[in-house]
Symmetry: C3
């Protein structure tokens, strides 16, 4: 069994933003020697999430708007007494900051309309870090 | 280390519907030779999710109703300008299209009230595909 | 490849409560011999979830309040006809009862503000069980 790691650093430009990282994930799978296993995409931040869906610009706006509607900013959250981003922590807690994928015959397994995104919830930030781990044989 | 894959094809009959796939997942674990590891249940679609909970018919209705209430259809979503199923993509993004389980001593580890379901969000569809991967030793 | 398991038993004291289990998870990783792999934290209950975020007391109150607002108790759920905890099952279904982490060079990979919590949704309970699995090389 082997494990290989890649760390991706990204900057974000808006408070809430989706950044497609499918290419970076697939490159790490393609460049490695693991034929069958899993690929874990893990964001190291408590105010981001990882989501999987279609890369269609209208949909990306819908996701960004929906997360802000469901987790409204400045709504008297207790955490806002020590910081001003409780809504971002809440969304990250519920949506989760990671997703995992099969690897089969050297390829990442995903559907045609399943791209992988970092969901920034408290941007803009100069450096967000995502760990991409491939584990298998 | 070994990995083994099974693809399950299912048809769905309603717009929103839960289909219990616990038996298919456990059969794949039971028929393989992996004693300890993990089992990844991964749906290849951006308008489905995988959820884990009790198989009680009232609860399944509650889940189907709640997801439609939280992700309402035709509410002026931008993605509806190119397709008419933004609400299904949003629910899939937030809930996630996969779940992962331990395998211990040849058995899938799950609680008494934890069955595994495909959550159809944009049905009916003639063919939905789920990858069941067992990885371990 | 090796897999090692630890089962953690916890009691909970409130209906909705977050219990930090980061120490128990890290101890299991630190005490084992696996250098690179993954750590799966899996709750065996359909009325709990596992979440990852900052251990700040105001935020923990926000998470507990938000989950009760989003999944309100006694709102005419169908499952309440057979039990009285449909809201807990719904939250567990959507948030998920597990999270998975990389293990790299013998350490659990997580961000500075990413602690691991059991989210009790139907307490108090005398015994909740969580499986911590380390899988790798």
């Amino acid at each position: 069994m082997k494990a290989s790691f890649k760390e991706v650093e990204l900057s974000t430009r808006s408070r809430v933003e989706l950044i497609d990282i499918t290419r970076q994930v697939e490159e790490h799978v393609d460049q490695g020697s693991i034929r069958n296993g899993v690929c874990l995409v893990y964001s190291l931040h408590s105010t981001t999430a990882i989501v999987v869906n279609e890369h269609e610009n209208g949909l990306l706006l819908d996701i960004a708007n929906k997360v802000q509607e469901d987790f409204p900013r400045g709504r008297g959250w207790r955490h806002d007494e020590v910081d001003s981003n409780a809504e971002a922590h809440l969304a990250s807690s519920f949506i989760a900051a990671s997703r995992i994928f099969p690897i089969r015959e050297g390829r990442l397994v995903r559907g045609t309309w399943q791209n992988i995104f970092l969901l920034e919830l408290d941007g803009p930030r100069s450096a967000r870090h995502i760990v991409i781990e491939v584990l298998g044989e």
